[in-house]
Symmetry: C2
DNA sequence: CTCGTAACTTACTTCGAGTAACCTACTGCG
DNA sequence: CGCAGTAGGTTACTCGAAGTAAGTTACGAG
């Protein structure tokens, strides 16, 4: 099997088993067996168990970025821009429900360098939100804009975990809840600052 | 040394080393040596490495609950109640800066059952916030109240991590930021619902 | 002084991450 | 055809850390 294909297969299998059993409880032998290959091949491709985990996270991150970029293209104003971006995030999470827990929880704990990747995902989200704030209200205090973005990302991340236990709450309702809580506060800031320009993210 | 005292000492040392090096990178031998005791003693007291971690988290959880309860005693209205509760949380985090990363990140990833304890901490916070909402606005949709509470907890958790990289943002300013974003949205819900009663949490 | 128990240690076993060294099958070229 | 080189792969190890079995010391009560 060619390398690129084998690599993708390994990532898919690893993500699956990690999500099922957790990172620590999964052995490299186990992954190798399920892939139908021997352990040293995993080391050939990813260097270490940690490297394999980082590969999984990195792939998810790329996918999230692409989906978000597609979702927010053509949004009219800050509220719609934010709403579409948040909704893309919730949809991504519902799709990757099992592996998302791995990405944000297991990865961060077990493997310091995987944490960088997870932070990268969050960074993407805060960038997206920060860009809404800064481009629609250029006079906003940068520190405040950053803090607001972190607050919104944290809110979504936590609510997404909660949604897993509440099947009745899908991406649409989750987005509504978050917007209901944060938008009045954010809009309030906008009112006190010079007016809107177009947002530019990616 | 008597058991209770030894146990506390083990927890203190373990929390310290876990925070320094991470859970995975720390060996039980290493902790045992720093405590000045042999490895089987740790197993005697905590059963497993996982048990030791859970012990650390559990102790932190208890402390947070006590501090929060003390802080919110005597708050006048929902806004002050929420503000004091959030502030106690940020102060707790600043105090336990290094070990907080362990609790919420490493623990969740590496050890599924430690995750329960971490969720317990979050549950305390959502209970606190949920009690504000429900008791000041008894007619609120319970699902919505729960979602709002999760959103606020997520926002704080994430902002707390951000504060670690931003020494200029202390507990007071962090609380202000969160309140600025969420309070207008929450107050907006209150306005549409029957009026305030006293909150009761713990 | 000796019995009992609380607190502790030494000396293992086991399991899994990571590695060294060797193997196979295909592709291009004289 | 036959052979070299390499992509893709395997077997058989080492080593370190979690967890354990069995034995040892300290010390207060009778």
């Amino acid at each position: 099997m060619p390398k690129a294909q084998r690599m993708a297969q390994m990532l898919t299998v690893a993500e699956e088993i990690f999500a099922e059993q957790g990172y620590l409880a999964t052995s490299m032998d186990e992954i190798a067996e399920r892939v139908g290959v021997s352990k040293p091949m995993l080391y050939e491709y990813f260097g270490s168990k940690e490297g394999l985990l980082i590969g999984c996270i990195h792939r998810a991150r790329t996918e999230l970025r692409e989906k978000t970029a597609a979702a927010i293209a053509g949004a009219a104003g800050p509220e719609e821009f934010l709403r579409l971006g948040l909704r893309a995030f919730f949809e991504f999470i519902v799709e990757h429900q099992r592996s998302w827990a791995l990405l944000r929880q297991e990865a961060a704990i077990a493997v310091p360098s995987a944490q960088e990747e997870v932070e990268g995902i969050r960074q993407q989200q805060t960038d997206m939100i920060g860009s809404v704030l800064v481009s629609f209200a250029p006079q906003i205090d940068p520190l405040e804009a950053e803090a607001f973005a972190e607050i919104v990302v944290g809110a979504c991340e936590r609510l997404a975990v909660w949604c897993e236990r509440r099947p009745s709450v899908g991406p649409a309702l989750a987005t509504d809840y978050v917007m209901a809580v944060i938008w009045p506060g954010v809009a309030d800031r906008f009112k006190k600052l010079p007016g809107p320009v177009q947002p530019a993210w990616r």
